[in-house]
Amino acid sequence: MPQSPENTKFHKADKLKNAQIKMTSTILKMGKANLEIFSETLIELGKNDKDILVVTSDSRGSGKLVPFGEQLPGQIVEVGIAEQNLVGVAAGLASTGKKVFAVSPSCFLTARSLEQVKNDVAYSNMPVTLIGISAGVSYGALGTTHHSLHDVAVFRAINNIDIVIPADNFETRHAIVAASQSKKPIFIKFGKKNMPNLPRLEQSFEIGKASVIREGNDVAFIACGETVAPAYEAAQILEEKGISAEVISMHTIKPLDKEAILKSAMKCKAVVTVEEHSIYGGLGEACSSLFMEERIYKPFKIVGIPDEETVSGLQTEIFDHYGISGKGLSETALNLL
């Protein structure tokens, strides 16, 4: 069932009322916004490779790319407020050997220019990196026009494009470097708020290989992007209650690291997926279809944005409203166990 204020019943909520909730920021060192890391990384890469081009649709400010434009003026192409053209031009540039990053708010990039992504980039196999900035509900208070809760669903159904949603600064930096070396289309999206630096079992990053943030064997949180941090927070809350939670950063939705998902699901009693996306067509449904095909029948919950007009508010308020928080996710896990 989709979660909504009406049908979200946290039966075990009372148990947690008095639990001390450790805020992520007090435990983990706060990093920068993934958006800033993207910009810094791209400047570094661009200085060493003049074939790296950034294409913007009046989005250099919101993409933190003003410094890139100032330092590498010959490597930024402005197309104006024209997202279809943004992607078509990016594909044309890429066909000549340029390493192109097409940057626009995810809400426009993945809807307005969807046909250009499908045909000019993915079908034509042009190595364009599409950067969806201020993704999900980063522009929370601006309303549904500026939310991007469909992007994973639509891109999952398009052949020949990787989907990457980094959780923190480490993953963002590595995703951008990997994209600059890739020969195929990639979509990377992130938000604009500061993210904590997450721990991880292995200090490595590979597109298509999930990162284990924390090991556990009672419940597995399989999360992506900016929802990994609240999943980690939930794991800590659960630990105080004697429940061992695993946290996986599923930074690549396509190709999906099936092995990592199955490994977590097999050893845990329940699985919770978490995403800043519609509960339809995203990470949760990708996992659920995998579980059915592999005959893994365990308590399972998809946490995301339900199919309703999204509540208004800041990103954190929207997250809290839909249970994408340490408290909400720990309650969801308790309900499943």
Binding site: G80, V89, G92
Partner: protein, 296 residues
């Protein structure tokens, strides 16, 4: 400045080209192409007949007389580029590419069949094709991107794209038109296959694109008019284009949908009509008669 360097490069290329064909030889090629594309449309029992016959002369002149592109230099970064924005007229492109030696013409016998790379719109699976097109309103943005890359690299090549007149209703064209003028892409030539018909009927009745000339001028383009079936005129105009430094060129090629087959000319049902056996025979006979006339 770049235009001058580019023009010298082209004159140099043409001077040493062994393949310079006379106007008459090019006219004969057009008839041959029309016969071939009808043959493969008939075999496939599918295709965009009217539009392919409409743009045959334009493609003939581009590939045989104007562009520096061949199977031998197709991986050369300095080759001229052709992007077919009106991708549905792919049958004309296929027969021209086959004639250029990009692939054996007999392969077109598989057109539109199970697992054939020769699908109903251009794909890069076919040697000689630069981009997968077919959804309208994409070619100009792609071409502008390539032309922009040429400017950045100070490369001498030109970029040609072919648009349909019905296609002008796609808003993305106008996004690209603004950009091409803004970046002064005088290495970009957009050719309009202006046959005035689209699938529903006359452009003017569906959603009037006129005044086309004034619109492109207002968007900052150099606009040139040409008879899209006059080989000598096409050769001159396309070879010289772009003619104004600092501006992209828009060539309005006045054409006839279904050109070359009397009962198909300027009749909307031939947009994607496939001839019956009898109609096919009449069409081939008409084109055969034209072939004989040109030989004499």
């Amino acid at each position: 400045m770049e235009t001058t360097i580019s023009s010298h490069f082209r004159i140099f290329f043409k001077f040493f080209s062994m393949n310079n064909l006379t106007i008459k030889e090019l006219e004969q090629k057009s008839v041959k192409y029309r016969m071939a594309l009808l043959k493969y449309i008939k075999m496939a029992n599918a295709g965009h007949t009217g539009g392919s016959l409409s743009c045959t002369d334009i493609l003939n002149v581009l590939y045989n007389d104007v562009m520096n592109v061949s199977p031998e230099n197709f991986n050369d970064p300095n080759r001229d580029r052709y992007i077919q924005s009106k991708g549905h007229s792919v049958e004309a492109l296929y027969v021209v590419l086959a004639d250029q030696g990009f692939f054996p013409e007999t392969e077109l016998e598989t057109m539109c069949r199970y697992k054939s790379p020769y699908v109903g719109h251009p794909t890069r699976k076919v040697n000689g094709i630069e981009f997968n097109t077919g959804a309208l309103g994409h070619g100009l943005s792609i071409s502008a991107g390539i032309a922009l890359a040429a400017k950045k690299d100070k490369a001498p090549y030109r970029v040609f794209t072919l648009l349909g007149d019905g296609e002008l209703a796609e808003g993305s064209n106008w996004e690209a038109a603004m950009l091409a003028a803004h970046y002064k892409l005088d290495n970009l030539v957009a050719i309009l296959d202006h046959n005035t018909l689209q699938i529903t009927g006359r452009n003017a009745e569906v959603c009037n694109p006129e005044p086309i000339n004034e619109k492109w001028k207002a968007f900052g383009w150099n606009v040139v008019h040409v008879d899209g079936h006059n080989i000598a005129e096409l050769s001159k105009v396309l070879d010289e284009a772009p003619t104004v430094p600092g501006k992209p060129t828009f060539v309005i090629a006045r054409t006839t949908k279904g050109k070359g087959v009397s009962f198909m000319e300027d009749v909307k049902k031939w947009h994607h009509g496939v001839p019956t056996n009898e109609q096919y025979e009449i069409a081939i006979n008409e084109l055969g008669a034209e072939q004989i006339r040109l030989k004499n």
